[in-house]
Symmetry: C2
Subunit: 136 residues, 2 copies
DNA sequence: ATTATAAACAGAAATAATTTCTATTTAAGG
DNA sequence: CCTTAAATAGAAATTATTTCTGTTTATAAT
């Protein structure tokens, strides 16, 4: 919790109740959630909470490296806590059953500057699986 | 052109003027296009052409392995020709300037069955760059 | 060639995730 | 305690995609 607050502070962003609550949700569940999933959980805590605020805050937290974001083919963005390597590129593996997120180390693409004549700008990798808990 | 038609035939799908035209578009441009981009090009050829048909056909062609599809954070699906390895998992590198698509060989994930206790179900990789032509 | 039939189609309307806009509230520094 | 820019709520707009319905067409069987 604390280190995430510090990231916000260092970037000159306000520590608002909504931001703390959103970070708290992810710290406690370690899952990927959709914007609406987060919104739904926030409604337990706040009488009033606008969906646009949720969207705005989730994107802000992604920009800070606190959250990771994946775009599934279901047209929804999914957000999860990015627990380490805040400034290093890395990827995540997600459980398609329970939504749990874990970090993967550096991948072979991270070093490559040129591939097939293309100057590499960025790359994105998403691995989906079934976690040990859900396999049982 | 011919081999793509054969894929459709083998799957018992009809060879319609729209399908031929869509394949033709991709064969001639080797770029990623959005659904609306394809629709716009089809309008040059057909007086009447419904956007729902374009969506339906693009998805059909993806299922056949003729096209590859990526989901960008712009909320749009992008489609490109998948020229080889029709039955082998592989990835693509895309030029963010001109949209050109090229194939990448197998990646390190392809062999892995278990990662961090997760039974791997599938993975997705997208590499973006600037092609040789656009670098000049 | 003609016909039968399921697949493909057009067009309109609906859906739903996300964004934009505006007025109001609030966190944080002095 | 003030001040102020950032954050927020709520309504409305946007837009990629899907659904629905009635019509057309590719293809196989006659
Ligand atoms: Mn991470
Ligand atoms: Mn391919
Ligand atoms: Zn799981
Ligand atoms: Zn290019």
């Amino acid at each position: 919790m604390k280190p995430y607050i510090d990231i916000l502070k260092n970037k000159g962003l306000k520590i608002t109740p909504r931001r703390k609550a959103i970070i708290d949700i992810f710290v406690n569940c370690h899952k990927h959630l959709t914007s609406e999933g987060v919104w739904s959980l926030l409604s337990n805590e706040f009488d009033k909470c606008g969906l646009p605020s949720v969207y705005r805050n989730l994107e802000t937290l992604v920009e800070c490296g606190i959250l990771t974001r994946i775009q599934q083919f279901d047209r929804k963005k999914h957000y999860g806590l990015c627990t380490e390597h805040h400034n290093h590129p890395h990827h995540h593996i997600t459980c398609i059953s329970c939504g749990k997120v874990e970090e993967l180390g550096a991948c072979e693409m991270d070093n490559k500057r040129i591939i097939k004549g293309y100057k590499v700008v960025n790359h994105f990798m998403q691995v989906n699986g079934i976690c040990a808990g859900c396999s049982k």
